[in-house]
Amino acid sequence: MELQIFMQNLLNALQWGSFYALIALGYSLVYGVLLLINFAHGDIFMVGAYLGFFIATFLLGQYAFGLPFALDPTFIFIITLLFTMILTAGLGVTIERVAYRPLRRKGASRLYVVITALMCGLILENGNLALLGASRRSFPELLPKTVYDVGGLALSNTKLLVIVTTIVVFVLLETIVRKTKLGMAMRAISYDRMAVPLMGIPIDTVIVFTFVLGSSMAALAGVLFATTYPVLEPYMGALVGWKAFIAAVLGGIGEIRGAFVGGFLLGFVEIFVAAFFPSTLRDLIAFSILLVFLSIKPTGIFGIARATKI
């Protein structure tokens, strides 16, 4: 394969992997704190994209009631991003309060909470389908598309935006988790859940903060995804969500570095399999690689095998 095609695929893989990484992060954050696989996360991503769509079209004045003045599209994009992140974080926290916390209080088995999460995802998906109908919506183009030509490579500004945002988010989250007090509390909870409340750490606040972080990252991914592939449908979160979960596990679930590396790795595998083989084989080969990888290294890339006490 020529170098140029290779580099172009590499760019595509970076972009595709960015989405996986951003969503996988939400899985990993929540898992790290609660040991809960939040299966509703893929659908939170979908809700994020939809909220972004409604906020953007409202600000663009596509409804009967709108703003009296017109705004610059780039400015609208930034406002959309911010409001979507806030609203989606609210959704994540609501789900936590309504569905997960009562179960946690009752001391239900972890797997029942997982099933509840699956049910929440179904409600979000099908609630959307029931409310808004099955018609697809197209996300308005807020950022005028410019394509830079870098040494024969086509590099659009959205692609650049996605990749750069993901890297910034990664650095930001690593800092939060490693350097701040809340981050320390998060790590402490995942280390020993029994001892942490005894040390006077408000465990519920930390959990809510985790959900805020994870859901707003999903919202970010949702808006960016909708800007890149401007077609919205209620089931868009399901497959991407499952795959992001796989990415999180591949990297070692509960680790932020793992979510990023796993996300990019899955992106690379998928894009390059599609580049070499017929695209119908993409899932088959990608998942076979995953199966072999997990059989060899069962705890993912960064995961640490926990010693079992007898």
Binding site: S109, L111, Y112, I115, L118, M119, N126, W242, I246, L291
Partner: protein, 341 residues
């Protein structure tokens, strides 16, 4: 005497059911619902062996179901009917009535072999990582079937109706219902005997503490392999029945959605409760059918009901108890074996 009451009453129930279906006292729709209930009972109780009794988290049960469904259907269509894909029938169509259980079992064996894909990694992996492996196996199975153009690929596979018809030509009975009833009975019997046997208690020991179980001379690898193969084999048989009830299968049926449905049945009934699985399979199938007129809203209301149920009973309907533990009087009538006090 009471050793036989449960078997006898189940057979009586089945005979009545088949007679009712044969005499057209219940219409075709209700018959199909009953058959789906039976298939769901097989699926949920077999998954309960892994997720409930062994304490693993398998999310790819539909994959094994797909393997069984395709093997059984392809064998049956190839052997007993003349189709465009496989040419004329190899054996006379009337022999289908005798060989149907054999092909059903072949589907089960094929699915059990696919279960090895999960069983072998499970020696080293537990918990959420194993969940991913089962998820990956589900996707791999679905994707491989989609890429096999000989058996229809993503378009699906049909022709099983002809097999059922040729069985009915020989002896006029609702054969799919007969086999669903037989397989449900056999599944429950096998699973009940298995988890209550000394050998099968090793599975519960693995759930409680794997290392301790190994020290107490439970061959954990062998137990895991047995459990996964038994569970996926039964799922394969359920798949074979499913294919013949519907008469048409396509890979899109056996997605993670289907697996989720079975998972919900297991956890709704209670982990490690065989009767709980049966009750929740019946209940959930009926509720889904009752809410069918609501169309899309069905998939909002049913999950909502399930969440509410989880909030009030976080351990499922029966927890990890059996029906005979909740109503001890039942034990007077139904007890396959004496329990030690």
């Amino acid at each position: 005497m009471r050793r036989f009451t449960s078997a006898a009453s189940y057979s009586l129930f089945c005979i009545l059911l088949i007679a009712a279906a044969h005499g057209d006292w219940i219409n075709a729709y209700i018959q199909i619902v009953i058959m789906f209930i039976g298939i769901n009972i097989i699926l949920s109780s077999s998954l309960n062996l892994i997720n409930g009794y062994m304490g693993e988290f398998s999310v790819g049960h539909a994959g094994f179901m797909a393997v069984g469904a395709y093997i059984t259907s392809v064998l049956n269509v190839w052997l007993f009917t003349s189709s465009q894909v496989f040419g004329p029938a190899l054996l006379s169509p009337s022999s289908a009535i005798l060989l149907f259980p054999v092909t059903l079992l072949a589907g089960g064996v094929g699915a059990a072999l696919a279960g090895l894909l999960v069983a072998v990694p499970s020696f080293r992996t537990r918990g959420d990582y194993l969940a991913i492996i089962t998820l990956a196996v589900n996707y791999i199975v679905k994707s491989s079937i989609e890429n096999m153009q000989v058996i229809g690929g993503a378009r699906g596979f049909m022709g099983m109706r002809g097999v059922v018809n040729s069985m009915q030509d020989v002896v006029n009975l609702p054969w799919t219902l007969v086999w669903v009833c037989t397989c449900v009975g056999a599944t429950i019997w096998i699973l009940y005997r298995f988890v209550n046997s000394t050998y099968g208690k090793g599975i519960i020991a693995i759930r409680d503490d794997e290392i301790a179980a190994e020290i107490m001379s439970v061959d954990t690898r062998r137990m895991k392999m047995t459990a996964f193969m038994l569970s996926s084999g039964l799922a394969g048989i359920a798949g074979g029945l499913f294919a013949h009830v519907l008469g048409y299968i396509n890979p899109g049926t056996f997605t993670i959605m289907k697996s989720t449905e079975v998972l919900v049945m297991v956890y709704l009934g209670g982990m490690g409760s065989l009767s709980g699985s049966v009750i929740s399979a019946i209940g959930l199938t009926l509720i889904l059918e009752l809410f069918r007129p609501l169309q899309v809203a069905k998939w909002v209301i049913v999950p909502l009901l399930l969440i509410l149920l989880m909030l009030f009973r976080p351990e499922g309907i029966l927890g990890n108890r059996e029906l005979t533990d909740v109503f001890p009087r039942l034990r007077r009538w139904f007890s396959l074996q004496e329990r030690q006090p």
